[in-house]
């Protein structure tokens, strides 16, 4: 939809949370955007990819999140307004670059958007709560609840970044990223195109002893941002569910919440028909500590409603010691720490907190509805079936799957692990099928096949492949070269033949020192089967590039 570029301030249009972030950035005049695709953040990059030209914004899909952030750091050092978007695990890949960047600070304002996925709807690896990164790196962090806040907070994040010369993180979750709602538009600002890098080693070089001075300066900066946070309207108190400002002083109990949980709190108060003071925190870091202390000082008890790890709860415990040591603090004893929250979970917790009775009806069904596992595309009209089916078929014919170990990695082929296929014995993070394979091959005499997609290979597979050569192990690595980043929505990557500046995977594999290499279209089953058998007996690492495009790539 071209609606996202509509320059009609005041008009309301429906946007996805992720699109609202894009819009917010456009309204601040963002120049430079980089991303590596990952659900639930993908639509941020995809939207920029679509509109970059008409909006006059530079956009790239970088090879991984760390490279995306480093590119943004360079643009920021050159004075451009930049935004980087990624899913939760991306920030872990970035961490090495993020820490020093918070020390050096920004020149052009920089916003880093990170999307967590509570309940792991689209995240195989672990249920990450990125708020921990805020403590680790001291990056100021905002948490929007809905698309309007996604837009407003993105703008505010740029403004904070500009004012304090520090990168600012926007932390969203699946239900904010993939929430649609009407959003009130502001004015799009035309970006300034050309940057200029002015030499300031004192500012951009993190070398001891200067680096420790930088840390001191950072902590002083955070103190100032804390004052800003204390006054900021995005940390607001109100009486739910109508959000009136009256009646706050009388209550002996209250609720502190943030992000998506805030919406469930208001929903619950409406359903239970109770008025309670609610402190909604738009800032996660630095927290408005005085505001929190003022909120809790006269209460007998307070409920902290937050998804995943109890960061806010621990902060409130700490802050209560000075102002209200007898305060009863409830949180994770009523709200689960695993999986995303749902409105009924919060309603039940608030009902318990306020001693209200709540009737919940549960039906007993005498029918077992089988679970529908996601699966690799099969028999799609006019397109056919996923080429990975051919790979699976060849592997199953070539080896005894009970005896061979199968390494999985991140992409559609994670589905090799579903009960239907069952050829995945470990699965961890991007690139790790190869990295872990090396360790297993060093530790055992067992045969092993590691699968890795092409985009994943570029992202994090190459160092691991070099390691198998340098430190001598002999897994068989099958690179699934479907020529796109399929799982997240078919974003391009360097190995796609249509890319003018593409990089050939076979050239990289050869240059890494791999001697046993074959490129096979898996439609040639016999060759594939024979090569698997042959390569599994090699004393050095071997690689098969299974080259056949994803059925969804335009031809």
């Amino acid at each position: 939809m071209g609606e996202i570029l509509l320059n009609k301030p005041g008009k309301k249009i429906i946007l996805l949370g992720n699109e609202a972030i894009v819009r917010g950035a456009l309204e601040e005049g963002v120049n430079f955007v980089s991303s590596y695709p990952g659900t639930p953040a993908s639509e941020i990059g995809d939207t920029f990819f679509r509109i970059a030209k008409s909006a006059g914004v530079y956009f790239e899909y970088s090879t991984n999140e760390k490279v995306a952030l480093e590119a943004a750091i360079g643009a920021s050092f050159s004075g451009l307004k930049t935004l980087v978007a990624m899913k939760d695990f991306g920030i872990n890949v970035c961490l090495d670059a993020l820490g020093p960047f918070v020390y050096t600070g920004t020149k052009g304002p920089t916003v880093i958007v990170v999307a967590d996925d509570p309940s792991c709807h689209s995240s195989a690896q672990w249920e990450e709560c990125t708020r921990g990164i805020s403590y680790l790196t001291h990056i100021p962090t905002l948490e929007p609840s809905d698309p309007q806040e996604c837009l407003d907070f993105t703008k505010l994040a740029f403004q904070i970044s500009e004012k304090f010369q520090i990168p600012v993180m926007i932390r969203i979750t699946t239900r904010a990223a993939h929430q649609r709602a009407p959003v009130k538009l502001g004015r799009i600002v035309k970006p300034v195109k050309v940057g200029k890098f002015i030499k300031e080693p004192k500012r951009f070089v993190t070398l001891p002893p200067r680096v420790l001075e930088m840390k001191k300066e950072l902590l002083e900066k955070i103190e100032k941002i804390k004052e800003f946070s204390e006054k900021s309207k995005i940390n607001k108190t109100c009486t739910g569910p109508t959000c009136a400002s009256s009646g706050l002083s009388k209550s002996q109990i209250g609720i502190i919440t943030s992000g998506i949980s805030y919406l469930y709190v208001m929903e619950a108060l409406e359903e239970l028909k109770i008025n309670l003071p609610v402190l909604k925190l738009g800032f996660f870091y630095p927290l408005p500590e005085e505001k929190i202390q003022n909120f809790i000082k006269k209460f007998k008890k307070v409920l902290i409603v937050e998804e995943l790890e109890p960061y806010l709860e621990k902060e409130v415990e700490r802050l209560a010691k000075d102002v209200n040591p007898k305060l009863q603090i409830l949180g994770k004893n009523l709200i689960p720490e695993v999986s995303e929250l749902k409105p009924e979970i919060v309603t039940l917790a608030i009902a318990k907190f306020t001693n209200k009775k709540l009737k919940i009806k549960n039906y007993e069904l005498k029918i077992d509805i089988p679970k529908r596992f996601p699966q690799l595309c099969a028999g799609i009209p006019k397109r056919g079936s996923c080429p990975y089916w051919l790979v699976i078929s060849a592997v199953k014919k070539a080896v005894d799957t009970k005896k061979v170990i199968f390494g999985g990695d991140i992409g559609c082929y994670m589905l090799f692990g579903t009960p239907l296929l069952n050829i995945q014995d470990y699965l961890s993070c991007m690139g790790s099928s190869v990295g872990i394979a090396h360790g297993i091959k060093k530790a055992t005499q067992q045969k092993l096949i590691a699968f890795i997609g092409d985009s994943t290979f570029f992202h994090a597979g190459i160092p691991a492949l070099i390691n198998t050569v340098f430190n001598k192990s002999n897994p068989l690595i099958i690179i699934l070269n479907n020529q796109t980043t399929a799982m997240t929505g078919h974003q391009p990557h360097p190995g796609a033949p249509a890319e003018p500046n593409g990089v050939k995977i076979e050239e990289i594999v050869k240059a890494c020192g791999v001697k046993n290499l074959k490129i096979i279209d898996p439609i040639n089953q016999e060759e594939f089967i024979n090569t698997i058998k042959e390569f599994l007996n090699k004393e050095e690492v071997s690689v098969i590039i299974a080259r056949r495009p994803c059925i969804w790539i335009k031809k």
Partner: protein, 213 residues
């Protein structure tokens, strides 16, 4: 505007690739046209690959949560029967189920268990229409079964518009408090020009069929 409802909660459920997000966009736009606040929730990524897809849409004066609470759904549109049944915790005895008379079978697995994966619930992968209908009727008295896929295939030669057919039908039959004119306007806004004619025909077909029954 005439009488406004304070809140309406609906779900669209089916399997990946049935076009739920397009339906969601159409309904959200229609609700906005009528001056409602609206919130929706959907899932992207791997969960779309043939797995279950559950989409929430809420509109009214002021909507906070994008997700519907347990037992609070007013309308559940099922593009597939088993999927409609699967979301029963969100229904109550008054919930209207408008369900496509269609079962997409779940692939059978012969040897699903080994030491690395705990036993999956594959016991009876095939459930009949009668069984699902019987269970749906235990939950709610308002179960409407419509052979939408069959009708669309027969009359328009395309099964894929079954979802458009069902939301249009729901509007004509007053199962959604959104006017057919708003749905039509939203279809024109959301559907790409290439497919618009087919979708308009589907809308028209729903109009005719709704007046017949």
């Amino acid at each position: 505007m005439d009488k406004k409802i304070s809140q309406f909660n609906m779900l669209i459920v089916g399997t990946g690739g049935q076009g739920q997000i397009t339906l969601l966009q159409i309904l959200a736009e229609a609700a906005l046209f009528e001056g409602y606040d609206v919130k929706t929730s959907e899932l992207h990524g791997l969960s779309q690959r043939g797995g279950s897809v559950e989409i929430h849409l809420r509109f009214g004066k002021k909507i906070y949560s994008p997700l519907i609470s347990q037992g609070k759904a007013d309308l559940i549109i099922g593009l597939e029967m088993q999927e409609a049944l699967k979301v029963y915790p969100l229904a109550n005895p008054k919930t209207i189920f408008l369900v496509n008379k269609k079962i997409i079978p779940i692939p059978l697995v012969k040897n699903p268990v080994d030491e690395f994966h705990s036993s999956p619930p594959f016991a009876n992968a095939r459930v009949t229409e009668e069984e699902v209908l019987k269970s749906l009727k235990k939950i709610s008295k308002n179960v409407i079964l419509v052979p939408a896929s069959e009708i669309c295939q027969k009359e328009l030669g395309k099964e894929v518009v079954a979802g458009i057919y069902l939301i249009s039908l729901a509007s004509f039959k007053n199962l959604i408090p959104l006017k057919p004119a708003s749905i039509l306007k939203a279809i024109k806004k959301i559907i790409p020009e290439k497919y618009l004619e087919l979708n308009l025909k589907t809308f028209g077909l729903a109009k005719i069929k709704s007046s017949q029954s």
